[in-house]
Symmetry: C2
Subunit: 331 residues, 2 copies
Amino acid sequence: MLKHKKDENAKGSWITYRPDIEIFDCTVRDGGLINNHSFDDGFIKAIYNTCIEAGVQYMELGYKGSKKIFAPGDFGTWKFCDEDDIRRIVGDNPTSLKLSVMADAERTDYHVDILPKEQSVIDCIRVASYIHQIPTALDMIKDANDKGYETTINLMAISTVQDRDLEDALNVLAKSPVDVIYLVDSFGTFYSEQIRDLTNIFLKTIEGTGKTVGIHTHNNQQLAYANTIESLIVGASKLDTTINGMGRGAGNCPLELLIGFLKNPQYRLRPVLKCIQDVFVPMREKLEWGYQIPYMITGQMNQHPRSAIQMMASKNPDDYISFYDQMIEEE
Amino acid sequence: MLKHKKDENAKGSWITYRPDIEIFDCTVRDGGLINNHSFDDGFIKAIYNTCIEAGVQYMELGYKGSKKIFAPGDFGTWKFCDEDDIRRIVGDNPTSLKLSVMADAERTDYHVDILPKEQSVIDCIRVASYIHQIPTALDMIKDANDKGYETTINLMAISTVQDRDLEDALNVLAKSPVDVIYLVDSFGTFYSEQIRDLTNIFLKTIEGTGKTVGIHTHNNQQLAYANTIESLIVGASKLDTTINGMGRGAGNCPLELLIGFLKNPQYRLRPVLKCIQDVFVPMREKLEWGYQIPYMITGQMNQHPRSAIQMMASKNPDDYISFYDQMIEEE
């Protein structure tokens, strides 16, 4: 008989499932980057209900953006996620779905705008931080943890970080009260080998701390889903998705694909498909996201997708050669 | 310092490249499944020139379909790939780009329609075979090998084949004169672990024979590119692509993505981008291909994509729920 070789690094098997794995749906938060977080209540309710029906464990609603930095007139409700706005959708959230918001380091008035947990329906504060913002991020984590929240740190743009700096950051974070440390491929530039390697480095750092590792990918090279799988196979257990892959630029790991891979019977595909059919198919006539050649170019070059996003919104979104030549020129 | 762990199974490194790796572009052949192989000469010439400029090693033109089975009036030129038609495009092909055609087991008059190599500009005959057609495929391989061609066997729909049957087939093929044995994920259903596992099984079987292993993927679950990388990392060396991922249903591994991963300086991305901009952007207004939810559903269920293709061509291509319910019902 053929000898199927079990990967010694793999943390699961084909028949069983790992109860430590949890899905973190970021549709509203990451999707909000396309339209300045201006969704109507019907959309937020649809995503909320879909997450509950699909068995997803967490739903992220948006940002806790500073109103001193971002004028409320310029952004939708979900740039700020005020308590009253959230409760208008979820009431007291009498479900097992946990709710989260993201707080960007240096762009949030966390001491004031993040309420004590007993006054909030939010369960988890996710701190997004570039490597040079770690000191601020640590204070935000302490603040949220002291107030009674679960916390995560989402270490962005790891593909631009030197090994020695990453090591320093991980060692500091391992000693902090943060619950989850996220590997974030902001530019959609990593290949599976790099994702496995980095996930193992993250896991090694948190060994014995009780913390877990999360993975957040982008689809610039059609690898968002593939890399999410690779990371979970070696041990990441918090998995970021968005419904229909909705997200800025090339978008994210689609929830519907990931549910196809995971074996926990609590996950259900049908409500996600129904939501895509009823909500996302019409929405795609107004908003654009997903893999396109310009995003591939920035992903391959390990660049922020902003220039590709500008190009896709220009009068010549198909002029790939001019864009490519310009990117090469500027490199 | 962080310890980056080298994967012991990986056959390459991040800095060097493997000279054994060759790209096999199937744009015209697999893309032809969308429009019954009815391309005009300008399209074929554009792909031919792009393959040359991009440094691709092989280009596949279409099928050697039996005119007794397929009425020439019902199909375009590239269903049959007559010698005169090929030469109208490539002349005597005074380039280093090798040309191939595909011959389906039981659907080709190979004794007659495949000329002796010295009369043909074709370099390679690729035999496509389901597991139960292996005896026919072996005779086709012998015929093409005797006539002087390079040969490959493309073992289709491996995801439906039992281990013991696959073992038998591989052992027989290892003793045949075939040059390359292809792992074909016809339904776009495999995950990376399975691709790595199967690639290793294929490699083990051909050890010491001088043969090589190829990989051909489909994008039903957005894994065509990811799985191609996984297969090559563990040792596959013939890599099937199509420009812009063009191919039936969800399409194939895009050439432009793969060139981003490979490090051989003979590969060039710019001509591929130019071809996409000039030829494929306009073509997408007439022909449809690429990842869609119905292809994901058949991929997740390890089913042939034909029902999804029919559904996408129906009046209700967005009625995902009806399609899903029907597929579940029939399972």
